[in-house]
Amino acid sequence: MKRRDFIKYGVSGLATLVVGSKMPWLMANPAYAAVQTQTLNFTITDAVKEMVTHEPGNNLATCYFWIYKSNAPNFPADCPGPQIYTTVGDTINISITNDLDEDHAFFIPGMYNSGPIAPGATVTGTFRVTRAGSYLYYDNLNAPVNRVMGLHGAFIVMPANLRGTRARGGNRLTPYSLPTPNVQQLFNDFGRAAWWPGLAWEQGDAAATPPTLPFRQYVWLLHQASPVLFEEVGNFTPGADYPAAAFMDAFIGETDRPGLPPLIATNTDPRMAFPLPFGPGIAINNAFNKKPHFFTICGQSGHFSHNHPAITPMLRVGEPCLARVMNAGLWTHSMHLHGNHFFIACVNGRVQSNLLWVDTFTSKSMDIYDMVIPFMRPPDVPNTRGIGRADPGLPAGLGATWPPQQEFAMYQPATGTFKQSFLNPLVNVDIHQRQSPLVYAMHDHTEPSQTAQGGNYNCGSISGITIIGDRNTPGWKDFPRDEDFDMMLTFGNGAPVTKPGGGNDPPLV
């Protein structure tokens, strides 16, 4: 793999818009490949998206969506719509054109409501951003059909006092205009208190490779997609709304129990066809029901969200970050982080007084919560320190268990596991994977969402955290990185956004 090929075809940042000019910290963050604008100029249109898996015959699986597409030059189309970052006090101009066949809208609860936009019409308006926090923008017409069809995105409002390096009174900056005492204390303690050594949230490190940005934050926008139902909506009578009740009956899938529509066994696995002791075996059937069978975070699933530095925080011990979790769909997700417990800082607009420190939290339909990941050393790696104590290392003779240098030297799969390269079958690549840096999962524990097309485990709603070093252990600011991970981390942050994939692959050989 040549590095220039990776830059050209490999991962890239997320499609992000920055409104106004008060966020140099974000503009400087190549992870977001941010486009700065004063006007949100969107078209409501449709698209077909290539999903995570392959269909039989190895064509990519696809799904039809309705999308908000930014009209900024060279801005990629995607579902969900662009991540929008704004600052309290910004005035935002908006211009939305509806290219679909029925009325649509652009809506941010408590901030802006376009009202119905007729097919072919353009609506313009202005609104002022007043309160810091995490929001969804979406189409609130024919609820929930238009939103679930893909017309949604993340709208992030940062507090206004970001230009200074310190807020007043010795308090550090938080994501909120009016933090509760415990939220303020947590953000004050990062980088200051003995138990949170490292950086404050507002602090970056330009000397790190890649640079550690201040105000580290990530959006985990959750969604579920049903290709069968979405296609049916797309093909519905032009100008007529698909009935919302029928949409929910299919999508939420009441039950397959007596008196209600039967479960369709969707199954192409020949191992399933033989009789079993407790049943007849499952008939092979290629048809899907209308329930969702793709589950996404920021529009990506499985590998594409997990190994993605703009979705998965890849940071060091001592580099705390914020993740904003929002659910645009109709299913509940129960999001579990490995490696670190996290603090729940804000739930549905309420900055929390009692900061639960948990490993799993509930995301129901339309829920929005903010979690703070301390990026502490995983506490159950063997140690002698105990809770809240300095770590003197292990007793003499036992060696050090942190950083786990023996683990860093392991490869799974083992070195010498060759497969054909993606771009050219005549070239072999070693698909070995080093146990460094330290990769942890973040996934929905409502496990049906961990699949794609009803099986194919680990191609669903999953992201993670990756600990790429330890700011607090001398000599280990960076854990070893092999070339593929290093390129993903470096160029995944930096490639200019032209398409979600950073550009189409050339025709495969």
Binding site: G234, N286, P382, Q412, F422
Partner: protein, 433 residues
């Protein structure tokens, strides 16, 4: 697939240069490596259980976990449900696998080893949910490997409620029953063999604001005091709230690799992906800590009184309850795990104080100083979703002869107006004399 009117095709992100990461994500290697940074285990619980005549320990201070399948339990209607099960091979009560798996009790700070293997149809893994070790010991295939055989190594650092489960094809293996509860206890919980096998015991809490619970010790964790920020409890109850879809269990119960994709020759190009129905979960059986909830789906069911967990499945500790039967003026600790792909809502018939979520005691300084224990009045539901745990502390001078209620919500449609649906209500006898 209909073409969009717009003509816009959103391409999949490229796999070029990332073939290894792409492939490992969904077809992780099956290996049996040695444990890196291997230490000498110090977990005293296996030897204590052996001293009670509950089993024979093969490797000192080490738990022997085996994952197996093809076991049958009975649903509410008497029909068989095929499950997979995990058990400690050294202990008579759990050797063949149980549903749920044996409770593991571990003192905080010991070096914990679990030699783990699949007895049938490997590979498997064990993930120690809420425990945070290195990726090799985290039991997730795509961040390490599937096994094979492996000795997981942890040193649990926070007292509280956890669970362990197989993380291979988790959608299936967790649902099929490959999980058990994990309790981290104070460092000295097994120090005295005369008291280690019973109650009272202690757990982590910060309860200065709740003087109704006697024996709470604040102090300083850094001092090494094993009781710093703990409170004693006289009774302990465990509610593992689970559901099962009989169609999943009986149609695919024996195919541990159901719809598991495979790398062929050229990652990203010729991968073997299937169509399946793991996106479609429709439970028709419910369980509280392995006890089936009677009656048909949708119909209220009450589990029997006086259900207890035997010491052979509870780290040698006698008296762990499921249905609560306690005395007035004593402290009761209820640990409640949602192991169900449905969400749930627990309602107690008495006031409770929530002292911990997810193995983190509220308000314990320094790291949990941003939170505090809180009272939930009798009759007030506590709603949460799969894999979350609460630790609830109860003490009353009033007799109670009532039920705790666990209502299971279909996760499809929660918070959607007009679409929330309770699919089952279970009652747990709750008696305080």
């Amino acid at each position: 697939m209909a073409l969009p009117n717009s003509g816009i095709i959103i391409p999949r992100r490229s796999i070029a240069g990332m073939e290894g990461m792409w492939a490992k994500m969904w077809d992780p290697p099956k290996e049996s490596p040695g444990t890196p940074e291997l230490l000498t285990p110090t977990n005293p619980v296996p030897a204590f259980m052996e001293s009670l005549g509950l089993g024979d320990v093969k490797v000192p201070n080490t738990v022997q976990l085996a994952l197996t399948e093809g076991i049958t339990i009975t649903g509410w209607n008497g029909a068989p449900l095929v499950i997979m099960a995990v058990g400690d091979q050294d202990m008579d009560a759990s050797k063949g696998g149980t549903y749920p798996g044996t409770i593991l009790r571990v003192p905080r700070g010991v070096i914990f080893h679990a030699e783990t293997q699949g007895k049938t149809s490997p590979p498997h893994t064990i993930h120690w949910h809420g425990i945070e070790p290195t990726p090799m010991n985290d039991g997730v295939g795509h961040t390490s490997m599937e096994i094979g055989k492996y000795t997981y190594q942890l040193q649990p650092n926070f007292i509280g409620s956890y669970f362990y489960h197989c993380h291979r094809n988790t959608v299936q293996h967790f649902e099929m029953g490959l999980f058990g509860f994990l309790i981290i206890e104070p460092p000295d919980a097994y120090a005295n063999p005369l008291t280690a096998g019973g109650y009272p015991r202690r757990t982590a809490a910060s309860l200065a604001a709740f003087p109704q619970f006697p024996g709470f010790v604040a102090g300083d964790l850094a001092s090494g005091d094993p009781h710093a920020y703990t409170v004693p409890y006289d009774y302990e109850a465990l509610w593992v709230c689970d559901d099962m879809d009989s169609y999943w269990h009986n149609q695919i119960g024996l195919e541990a690799r159901a719809w598991y994709p495979a790398i062929l020759n050229r990652p990203g190009v010729d991968d073997q992906f299937w169509h399946g129905h793991f996106h479609d979960f429709n439970p028709d059986n419910w369980f509280i800590t392995g006890v089936v909830v009677p009656n048909a789906p949708g119909v209220l069911g009450t589990i029997p009184p006086n259900v207890v967990v035997p010491p052979g499945l509870n780290g040698g500790v006698t008296g762990m309850q499921v249905s609560v039967n306690a005395q007035r003026g004593k402290t009761i600790l209820v640990r409640a795990l949602c192991a169900s792909y449905n969400s749930m809502r627990v309602t107690f018939p008495v006031d409770v104080v929530i002292i911990a979520w997810d193995g983190r005691a509220l308000g314990v300084p320094p790291l949990a100083r941003y939170s505090h224990a809180y009272r939930v009045p009798a009759g007030t539901p506590i709603r949460y979703s799969v894999a979350r745990r609460i630790d609830a502390l109860i003490r009353t001078d009033t007799a109670v002869n009532a039920f705790a209620t666990v209502e299971f919500f279909d996760t499809r449609g929660e918070n959607v107006p007009g679409r929330e649906r309770i699919v089952k209500t279970a009652r747990i006898p709750f008696v305080i004399n």
